[in-house]
Amino acid sequence: MTYTKRFDGRKFDELRKVEAKVGVVPNADGSAYFSFGNTKAIAAVYGPRPLHPVFLQNPQKGVLRCSYDMLSFSVTERKKPGPNRRSKEISMVTAKSLEPVVQLQNFPNTVTDVFISIIQADASTRCAGINAAALALAHAGIPMTDMVSSVSTGFVGNTVCLDLTKEEEDYEEDGEKLVSDIPMAFLARTGQMSLFQLDGNGIKPEDLKKVIEAGRKGCQKVYEIQKAALKALAEEKEE
């Protein structure tokens, strides 16, 4: 129990500097930029549009398809371009985190594509990606019952920390890694959870409860920022 001061001087329940902007890719039907400090994500939505090959189509509702990937120069050691096992998994959990709110039943046989690119990575990339994607879906006018907000919360040393950086993710004590990284996403209105993952050296259920509570509060802050970004766009249009 020695992690008493954060590397970047933030409070334990403080987000990094968050920026959100809607409408960053003119070609797309909807798009957004979202950043947590040095983690920067862009998302673009195309669709609903016909899904090919045809056998993948669902006659009952439209398909939501997410593709998350990091650009080759977004990390310290160059990442080989193109999807790998990690990015495929994240694409999947991203889709699962957004599916509960999108209403695609009126768009049978279509696909709504969400493309997420990480330009610069400093932990919590999937959370930044989900936040950008949710904004982009709203911008594209896809019917949604709620907003999705995501943040990663960690258990570093023995302390609950909101919005981990890479430095914190790699925190060690006496040569032993002492971190659990827990990305979460919540639906803003209902407060239900749509993303929940955990990597780490072990955390007690009691502590996990605290982490979840901290994550939920963090997501509410993210939601306010998302809302402001959408409003800013609406006001821009009015002018």
Binding site: V24, V25, P26, N27, A28, N38, K40, I42, A43, A44, Y46, R49, S67, L71, S72, F73, S74, V75, T76, E77, R78, P81, G82, P83, D113, F115, I116, S117, I119, Q120, A121, D122
Partner: protein
């Protein structure tokens, strides 16, 4: 570049060409005018160098990552340059994910040849131990929004990223050199005055123009890309590539070559001015 989904109709293409005959474009530009350029460097702090270039609605980002590798046997004491472009489906509805398309390979190759053949990077200075260790430069280019003319925008982003790049810190481990990833020196890449810029001339009907919008690019029947540097106030062409389904006449080629110096001069002045501003801004950060 073939548009796979949103074909521009034959009617639109005909209209574009009709207007072109009167020297008119959608956005009132002259045939040899580029759109407004915007440059930002240092957009990704994990990379050794990076830049964003906007050309009107077109936005491209490029980044440099460095590695240490084994030299090619035919050039045992030169560094290695690898250029890659990935046409992100994020940037336009016409691109799909999957292995690199022919278009993305062509874009990367055109930009690669311009930089390589101009010898803008002194690859000989990237040798660490002859025959054993040399620096590898990975130059990766991604469009964020394809509003036409990715080749020229990509080439500018590539050059700007290279110019902003610095070496990472290293450490000797016996015979081998190891990169301390994430730590940077102040040492810039060995670049020289032979900076190439790529210009792509398009043929629509019997008109030639540069920097097409998406619709103009769709209507374009042939294109000619060239990477040109200026040395001692003279233009040197380092790479050429013809694309598209129709041919150029000799007269058209002459017209292109005669117009090129003026186009290049304007483009270069604009590019250098914007890049200087971007670098100043990045320094402040």
């Amino acid at each position: 570049m073939v548009n796979k989904r949103l074909e521009v109709t034959e009617n639109t293409k005909r209209r574009i060409i009709e207007y072109m005959k009167e020297g008119k474009r959608f956005d009132d530009r002259g045939l040899f005018d580029y759109r407004e350029i915007e440059i930002e460097t240092g957009i990704s702090n994990k990379s050794e160098g990076s830049a964003r270039v906007k050309l009107g609605q077109t936005e491209v980002i490029a980044g440099v990552k460095m590695g240490i590798g084994i030299p090619y046997t035919d050039s045992p004491d030169s560094g290695v340059l690898t250029v890659m472009a990935e046409l992100l489906p994020l940037s336009s509805s016409k691109y799909e994910s999957g292995p690199p398309s022919d278009d993305s390979i062509e874009i990367a190759r055109i930009i690669d040849r311009g930089i390589r053949e101009s010898e803008f990077i002194d690859l000989d200075k990237l040798c660490i131990t002859p025959k054993k260790e040399v620096w590898t430069i990975f130059l990766d280019i991604y469009p964020i929004n394809d509003g036409g003319n990715l080749i020229d925008a990509g080439a500018m982003a590539a050059v700007a990223a290279l110019m902003s790049a610095v070496f990472p810190k290293t450490e000797k481990e016996g015979e081998t050199t190891k990169i301390l990833f994430g730590e940077f020196t102040n040492k810039k890449l060995p670049l020289n005055e032979k900076m190439p810029l790529t210009m792509t001339f398009h043929k629509l009907g019997d008109q030639i123009l540069v920097d097409p919008l998406t619709e103009e690019e769709e209507a374009s029947e042939a294109r000619l890309s060239m990477a040109v540097s200026i040395q001692k106030k003279e233009e040197f062409i380092h790479a050429l590539q013809k694309g598209g389904k129709v041919t150029f006449t000799i007269e058209e080629l002459h017209h292109i070559f005669d117009s090129m110096p003026k186009v290049l001069k304007k483009l270069r002045e604009n590019f250098e001015e914007k890049l200087k501003k971007a670098e100043k801004k990045a320094e402040k950060k």
